[in-house]
Amino acid sequence: MDESILLALLQDGLTTGAIYVLLAVGLLIAFTVTRVIFIPQGDLVSFAALTLAAMISHRVPGTIWLLDGLCAVALVLALARGRLRALLPYGVAPAALTLATWAATRYGAPTPVSMLLALTIVTALGPLLYRFAYEPLGEASMLPLLIVSMALHFVLIGIALYYFGAEGVSTPTLTDATFDAGSIEISGQSLCIAAVCLIMVGALRWFFVRTLFGKALRAAASDRLGARLIGVDHALSGRAAFALASFAAAVSGLLIAPITPLSYDTGFEIGLKGFVAAVIGGLVSYPLAAAGALIVGVLESFSGFWASEYRNIIVFSLLIPVLIWLSLARGNTEDRA
């Protein structure tokens, strides 16, 4: 193996790794605040790419109808309890978004506008999924939450198949530029991915460290009951965490679809890799999860070169030693009582 192949593999690995970083960070936010392992996050990766691809080919994306449907149910439930305030988030906002999406599809809006709309649609789905799938479970233990995650994954891929069909899609790159760096070429898309990843991680850090709402989310993550006692609305913090997680998924989807075609069910596999990375971070540590994500990306890229058939086995088997180490390090404190 010569140096240029090595560097190309490394570039590939770090590029996908950067996407896994986004997903792992999203999973961690959702998990620490709500204890939900948001397995269906990967499906939202597909949702974002498929939504954008539909808009570019002048078809109104089905995801907007899903969003409208969920909002309508939420609106009816809220109005039934006399909460008129719900009209804005569940009535006016989705109506405006639907109109904008329809117009952008009909008249062929520039790609960045379509991207923004796709991001908004998918991000808005996150809190609604939390509202309908997880919130009614209340203080259930981890396990029902995990089973609901699995079930939700099936629901989402079913919906994606219904709206978008089984075809894989590619979306436009952010840039077609390439740069010569000695023995290899660095693609502009890779650089964009790295840049977006860094910006998002930086922005999240700012949000959690500097803003009051970010601090409230951290409080909810470190001590749910304590946070509630000092007035942090736990339903609101859960929905916010899911909004962040689905935003991360949507961004990942738009970043990865130009490199790897996505279909209704491939996002899930990408999501699982992000999940492996989050577990490497012990489901608590952001820096470790980010490092884990880069490791997973590079490992995947290299094993894809040497033993492509074993690529997934190697990545998933990585989990087992990590889980053993975590169990031994954390000790046995999981009592049901």
């Binding site: 053993i324 169990s327 009582a337």
Partner: protein
Amino acid sequence: MTLPRPLVLTAVALLLCAALPFVLTEYEATLAGFIGIAAIAALGLVLLSGISGQTSFGHATFVGLAAYTTAWMSRYGGFPPLAGLPAGLAIAGGTAYLLGLITSRISGHYLPLATIAWCASFFYLFGIIPGLGGFNGFGQIPPLVPGITTGTEAALIGVVLTGATLLAANLLGSRTGRAMRALAQSRIMAESLGIDTARLARSTFVLASLLAGVAGWLFAHVQRYVSPAPFGLDASIEYVFMIVIGGTTHLAGAIIGAAVVVLLRDQLTELLPRLLGSTGNFETVAFSLVVILLLQYAPRGIAPVLFRRLRRRPPDRAGVSLPSGTKPPRGSLVLETTALEKRFGGLIAARAIDLSVHAGEIVALIGPNGAGKSTTFNLCSGALSPNAGRIRLLDHDIHGQGARRIARRGLARTFQHVKLLPEATVLDNIALGAHLRGRAGMLRSMLRLDRGEEAALLHTARVQADRVGLGDVLDAQAGSLPLGRQRLVEIARGLCLDPCVFLLDEPAAGLRLQEKQALADLLRALRDEGMAILLVEHDMDFVMDLADRVAVMDFGEKIADGRPEAIQDDAIVQEAYLGGVA
């Protein structure tokens, strides 16, 4: 004379199976066969996840291991299908044992995550191992018996399912079954009763994988085609869905869940695409929605609605108790700690604790909240490991030994926050305490070779229940009792261990006055029989009236030790409690 219920149920089930070939159409028989196979696998998952609390999202892996083994042997190796059963079980069980060696170390929510990991890995393995037909799989697998009809096949599967259900039911009504439920509830509690939780977790895992293996063997020869798809993560999750729909803690839940999923799938595969005007796995979406709604509104599934959970036991007061072990002579030193110390990070929870309890003596450990009483308790019972110091029980140094081995040496305990099986009967909860005094394992329990021992175990439990005053609520759900009486269940459970030293953590909390007096009488009687008793208690009237000796702790240190009257006059103690000489 009335026949025992399991026998009647088994006979009815077998008759039903025998009727299947004559009443079902070809198509219905195929469906019945699939329900049966899925139910056998789901039965394993109920034992593993519902009963013993180890959720697996990798169950289909073991179905696949056995299916591939027997498929390959009979298609390419020229072996008869029957030879594939032991081979398939060996592969499935052996793999489960090896994975279990690893995963029994994995606790809590990490375990289901690990099962996802290996399920995904095995799915890809099935697809890439040379000679197994890749992701398309291979066919032309011989049927179970040459020329067998679908109806007979369904009957045969029904018989296997009946047998498996009977064995599993036998297991649940036994010493091991109780221990499995304890495993799901609290490993700390289970270990304190002498249950080897890691080993039990492993053997349950192997048992579940063997049931999955039987299902896989049937699957390969009924379907006559194998490929990775029915053994992947999706299939594993579908088994979880089945037991969630049917009811995770009921054996019947496996059968109900399998029937609901298979039949609904059959109907919905036709119906939904017509309704929606496009093709896709919409039945899976429908199941998933059902599962989400069930978990939100009826997390126990269908089975508990159909069946009453609690069985009435015949009020059998005659019978033989288990033999008691030899006890240390009165007045001899039973439990002794020397310079015991426990640190949690920078916090010293207990320092230089010297305690002694003799046979036939009640020692009370008192002190303000946060003084380190419960820590000291957990050190003595092995729930925590000390950083320094020594603990001797009888003539053995038990420093650093786990709770299980300390229980084996004759130490019983109760918990400050009651740890019971809330859904099991009071009698079953108490009988759990006699775990160490029985020997029957999984196999003997499943074959009902444990009945003599089980009767003695239950009789012992009844005697102890009578002793603490719970004789009238043996069949009640433990969780339905008021907190004070739940404490009594724990005490009776501890007595079933036949201990020489009994550690009671706030036994009188939540009891009414008469109940407190009854408890005090009971403890005095136990003391007079020569038991050593160490108790933590906040009720001073109760303590001063009962204890022979009182040790006082404050800020992790023992500040006084002596007769109750002397302690009450001790200036240091008064300062600790009242902030100065009153």
